[in-house]
């Protein structure tokens, strides 16, 4: 029983566990421009992220290997976030004391640009509020998945992975 990794027991992965699998982007890189970080710790037969990446920044010798992003080659285009069937790609960008998280959002309602939304961590707990900076609807993405960019306090950069739209 003990060999079951925590992420498979719990159904979510902590940043610590994640960064034991893949390197964490440097502070400098995170400030330079958005960088793609896959939360895909399990070998499954899947390769669209590698196939769509315009700069070959994602390495994956066979579809059953884990995606590893070369953060220096990554230009932050978000195509991997748009295409990923597992909705497991995110982009993080540090700007001042905020972090901008790019994430898929396949639920209704889709937030509007500028709307304040509730920030959810990896187990769906509300951890604060943040502003939606960008909304790319389904029709406009390359992978049929709507994506949004949300601004969150920088200390929540590695916690917030979903949002909830709350309207009166």
């Amino acid at each position: 029983m003990s060999e079951v990794p925590a992420y498979l027991r719990e159904g979510y992965i902590t940043p610590d566990e994640l960064f034991r699998k893949i390197p964490k982007p440097s502070e400098e890189r995170l400030r330079a421009r958005p960088v793609a970080v896959p939360e895909c710790p399990q070998e499954i037969p899947c390769a669209p992220c590698r196939e769509i990446c315009p700069t070959n920044a994602i390495s994956m010798p066979t579809p059953n290997d884990l995606p590893v992003v070369d953060y220096e080659k990554c230009i932050g285009c978000s195509l991997c976030v748009q295409i990923c069937p597992g909705l497991a790609f995110f982009m993080v960008h540090y700007v001042g004391d905020k972090a901008r998280i790019t994430m898929p959002h396949e639920l209704l309602p889709l937030p509007e640009r500028g709307e304040e939304v509730v920030l959810l961590n990896r187990i769906g707990e509300p951890v604060g509020k943040g502003k939606v900076l960008t909304v790319v609807p389904r029709e406009k993405t390359k992978g049929d998945t709507p994506i949004i960019i949300v601004e969150v306090p920088i200390e929540l950069a590695w916690d917030v992975r979903a949002i909830k739209v709350v309207r009166e």
Binding site: M1, V4, Y7, L8, R9, E10, G11, Y12, I13, E39, C40, P41, Q42, E43, I44, P45, C46, A47, P48, E51, I52, T62, P63, N64, I83, C84, P85, G86, L87, A88, E106, L107, L108, L110, L120, N121, R122, I123, G124, E125, R138, G143, D144, T145, P146, R161, A162
Partner: protein, 481 residues
């Protein structure tokens, strides 16, 4: 309750009609089954069982389990999950065993309609569609039959995007893949499609095989072919627990059918049993339809499906309770509560760990088993192979079973993914055409290519398991061709 808005799907409903439940008018839409219309109107109890008069509702939603029998226009034992509404229909719950109407004229004895082809493909899901496309391209005349009103099989209920490589439709939603494949099939003049047509039996007639087809439960059709490809998919498993037959306990596929095919909300609060891919995907689909998922319980110590599917629902607040099981359902005529408990290392519930969930739906996603009934009935050798989901037909690497001329593909050959189903369908379609002497030898290369793709797909930890199961079957027929 009907769904109107959905982040992925658009529901096109037919003309409004009126049906009568116990004399009360209900609005329904043309093209939807009786059970879906009743469900939308909040009616869950469809009949009272034969021997113990227990209330029963929908369970499989695809005409297989007999849990939805009702009296329609005076005719008993009608499967309301696959019988479409008609204006003015009178519907009553069935209580115990049915009585036939006393008066009737003897039906006229008429010859059945006959259809001939080189290859008859049974099942229009990913495997059957690819089999038909490839067999046709290899030169065969193909008849494709499916019991549903639309092609695509389970793909039509799948709002998520598929894995694999992009040439295998990775990153494309199941619903979209269904449309793409359907267009490919419709484009080919040497493929004839029969929808709402069930294959109910296979009889050998010399070199030919007779597939007995029933269209819309009204018309008998004799399909004759020199080869058959059986791609009839899978069936949901059931598990024993107290009150496991209460209305409101559905197979995961039934919920997907209600919600994603007919746009009917299955309920308000759901407990899902099973954290394999089906359970995890279902949870996400329920959230997309605006239904609350209270928890997913899983007897194993870990999530059985892909981690990424689990992460998707966890971050939307759904707990996944590994090492937990359902003890019982409670409720008078329908599910009102579910009682769950933790399991010890010997799979026994630990007293004192019971937890009650207030739910009106319990979804069973405890695994699938191959739908091998036709193959079994036709005399194909059947083996139990755990890695492939249960009983499967012994077959060779060209997907031919032990009955010459009968091929198998997709979940029927072993529970796996839509991606592998499509590849297997391709192999079966081409090899059937080759074995009939229709296809050119060069098509062998296409089979080899599909086999390499299958091998690659199965090289990870998930696929290795399946590959092991297939090795067991191949060992029995003594290797390759």
């Amino acid at each position: 309750m009907r769904l109107n808005e959905h982040p992925i799907l658009k529901f096109k409903r037919g003309r409004e009609v009126t049906i009568y439940f116990n004399g009360e008018p209900i609005t329904a839409h043309e093209g939807e089954p009786i059970a879906a219309a009743l469900h939308a109107a909040g009616i869950r109890v469809l009949n009272y069982s034969n021997n113990r008069e227990r209330p029963r509702g929908l369970f499989c939603a695809i005409g297989k389990c007999s849990s939805c029998l009702m009296v329609v226009n005076g005719i008993p034992n009608v499967r309301t999950c696959i019988t479409l509404v008609e204006d003015g229909m009178r519907i009553e719950p069935q209580r115990g065993k049915a009585k036939l109407p006393k008066e009737a004229k003897p039906p006229e004895f008429r010859d059945a309609k006959g259809m001939k082809a080189d290859i008859v493909v049974i099942g229009g899901g990913p495997a059957g569609l690819m089999a038909a496309i490839n067999a046709a391209d290899a030169g065969a005349r193909v008849v494709l039959i499916d019991e549903n009103p639309m092609l695509g099989g389970q793909l039509v209920k799948q709002t998520h995007k598929f894995f694999g490589k992009r040439e295998q439709f990775a990153g494309v939603r199941g619903v979209e893949i269904a449309k793409i494949l359907e267009n490919e099939v419709r484009k080919r003049e040497n493929v004839q499609v029969f929808l709402e047509t069930s294959a109910v039996g296979i009889f050998q007639e010399g070199d030919e095989k007779l597939v007995l087809g029933v269209r819309k439960n009204r018309e008998l059709i004799e399909f004759r072919g020199r080869a058959l490809i059986v791609a009839t998919g899978a069936m949901e498993k059931m598990i024993p627990f107290e009150n496991n037959d209460l209305p409101g306990i559905y197979g995961a596929g039934a919920i997907q059918t209600l919600m994603n095919t007919y746009g009917v909300k299955p309920g308000d609060r759901v407990l899902i049993v099973g954290a394999g891919n089906v359970g995890l995907i279902l949870a996400y689909q329920l959230i997309q339809a605006g239904v609350e998922v209270k928890a997913i319980v899983e007897a194993m110590p870990k999530v059985g499906g892909y981690f990424v599917h689990a992460a998707k629902v966890r971050r939307l607040g759904v707990p996944i309770l590994t090492r937990h099981t359902i003890l019982r359902a409670e409720g008078k005529e329908r599910v009102e509560r579910a009682v769950v408990a933790q399991l010890d290392d010997n799979w026994r519930p630990i007293p004192g760990t019971e937890e009650v969930f207030d739910v009106d739906v319990i979804a069973l996603a405890v695994g699938l088993r191959p739908s091998i009934e036709l193959l079994h009935q036709a005399g194909c050798q059947i083996r139990y192979v755990r890695e492939l989901g249960g009983h499967v037909a012994v077959r060779d690497s060209w997907m031919e079973t032990t009955v010459r001329g009968i091929f198998v593909a997709g979940d029927t050959a072993g529970i796996e993914e839509a991606t592998t189903a499509m590849l297997e369908g391709k192999v079966a379609g081409i090899s059937a055409a080759l074995r009939l002497g229709i296809a050119e030898e060069s098509w062998v290369r296409e089979i080899e290519r599909a086999q390499r793709d299958l091998e690659e797909f199965r090289s990870g930890p998930f696929g290795r398991h399946v590959a092991e199961g297939i090795r067991k079957l191949l060992a029995e027929v003594g290797g390759n061709v």
